[in-house]
Every structure is written in structure tokens, then in C-alpha cells.
């Protein structure tokens, strides 16, 4: 899980982007799309001082790899890689980073976007925000139990609703 070719997807150190880009591989891929989600200084109306991410690593590592494989195959993108940071993060630090490489740019963008969306909504990672007023809160999230209906009272929010509760895009 810690080889350069297959890093841990859950990292407790600042994410190193450069090795993630895999520049010197994939000569048949003309498109490289990258997304980095950074910690924003506010959430809705509240001023955010810092965040802490935690993860249930045994499942998160497995699920991120499964998402990479599924997205890679769906979009014909030979390389899809997502890393997520855990621990305390300051404003501006990178929480999630995704790189997708594909023959053309449309597939690279589509793969990158879908991988990020899925990791944010499906993988056991939690975000606690610490506000300037001294309070803190866990960000409202997505229920990932396979046997709980999305229509349940609390779990039934639509994605575009709780989107706004995420600390960044």
C-alpha cells in the first residue's frame, strides 16, 4: 500500500501531487485531468478555522480502489487515482486529490469528476469543522448503508441539498 505505484489512498501527511500525475507513463494518453479539493475559509455563513478528517481506513482503502477501477473502465481512462487526506487540516490545504489520464480530454475530465464525486459520497470519511466562534460540527453527509433506503427521513436529502454543507466543491 505504500509503494510509489500503489500508495495508500488515505494519507495523514500533506498530499504530494507530482508523483500522482504519472507523467512518464501512458504515452497513449493525451489528456490529464486533476482535481484538488482544498479547505475553504468558510462554510455557508460560518467562518472556518480548520477541519479534521477521519476515515475508517480498512474499508476506505478498498472502496477508493474499487471506485478507481470502475471509473477507469467506464470512461476508458487507463489511470485514475484518488488520495484523501486525514487528520487536522488548515485553510488552503488539500483534502482530496484525483488524477485521471485518458486518450482524450473529455474522458479524462469525466473520469476525474466522477471519481471525486463517488469518493466524497461513498467512502467512510468524515469531516469535522472548527469555527471561529469556538463551536464545531460534523458536516452532514451521505448514508452509505447498502440496506437503508435513501428515502429514509434523514437520509433522503438530495445530493444538491447537502452539497451546500460540504466545506468545499
Amino acid at each position: 500500500m505504500t509503494s510509489p505505484d500503489d500508495p495508500s489512498r488515505i494519507q495523514n501527511q500533506p498530499l504530494a501531487l507530482e508523483p500522482l500525475l504519472a507523467w512518464h507513463a501512458f504515452p497513449d494518453c493525451g489528456g490529464l485531468a486533476m482535481f484538488a479539493g482544498t479547505v475553504r475559509d468558510h462554510h455557508d455563513e460560518k467562518s472556518v478555522l480548520s477541519l479534521t478528517y477521519t476515515a475508517y481506513a480498512p474499508l476506505a482503502e478498498k472502496q477508493i480502489r474499487e471506485i478507481e477501477r470502475a471509473v477507469s473502465s467506464k470512461h476508458g481512462a487507463p489511470y485514475v487515482r484518488v488520495l484523501h487526506r486525514v487528520g487536522p487540516l488548515s485553510i488552503g490545504e488539500v483534502a482530496i486529490c484525483c488524477v485521471a489520464r485518458a486518450p482524450h480530454r473529455a474522458e479524462a475530465f469525466a473520469a476525474c469528476k466522477e471519481a471525486v464525486d463517488r469518493v466524497k459520497h461513498e467512502v467512510p470519511i468524515w469531516k469535522e469543522e472548527f469555527y471561529a466562534d469556538g463551536s464545531s460540527a460534523f458536516v452532514e453527509g451521505c448514508c452509505i448503508a447498502p440496506d437503508i433506503e435513501a428515502e429514509s427521513p434523514a437520509g433522503g436529502r438530495h445530493e444538491h441539498e447537502h452539497h451546500h454543507h460540504h466545506a468545499h466543491g
Partner: protein, 81 residues
């Protein structure tokens, strides 16, 4: 037998603990075990109702039978990224 529930995300804060043991009569379904946990910790009940549950790297369903001492990770709604 004894089940060990691991708390993650907001359950850590709500429970004030990393984990909790629950003695139960085997066998029972995960659903029955969660019901007993909710009964003993009513402040967790609402979140338990939206948790996924995992044994190691495998998500398990509420209808699955638990037959022996087991460590179960309780995974509240997620918000990565």
C-alpha cells in the same frame, strides 16, 4: 458472546468513546444487535439508524447473523472531500 462496536465520525463525539462492548445472546442479526445498542445508548439511536456497518473491509447487512465475538465498525453518513 460479546460484540465490540467501534465508533466513527460523529458517533465518537456523541458517545465520548472509541468503542463499546455489548454482551448479547448468540446468534442474533445485526439489526437486533443495533437495537440493543440503541436501547442502552438512546442518545446514539438516531445516528445508528443511518449507519453502515463493517467487519474489517466488508460492509455487512442488517439481516446478517452474528454468531461469535465480533468487532463491528459503525459508519455514520460520510462527507469526504
Amino acid at each position: 458472546m460479546t460484540l465490540t462496536f467501534e465508533f466513527h465520525g460523529q458517533l465518537l463525539r456523541l458517545s465520548g468513546a472509541r468503542e463499546q462492548q455489548l454482551p448479547v445472546a448468540a446468534p442474533l442479526t445485526l439489526q437486533a444487535a443495533l437495537d440493543q445498542l440503541a436501547e442502552s445508548r438512546p442518545e446514539l439511536a438516531a445516528v445508528l439508524g443511518r449507519c453502515a456497518c463493517a467487519i474489517g473491509d466488508r460492509l455487512i447487512l442488517r439481516r446478517e447473523l452474528l454468531q461469535a465475538d465480533t468487532r463491528i465498525a459503525l459508519l455514520p453518513p460520510v462527507a469526504g472531500g
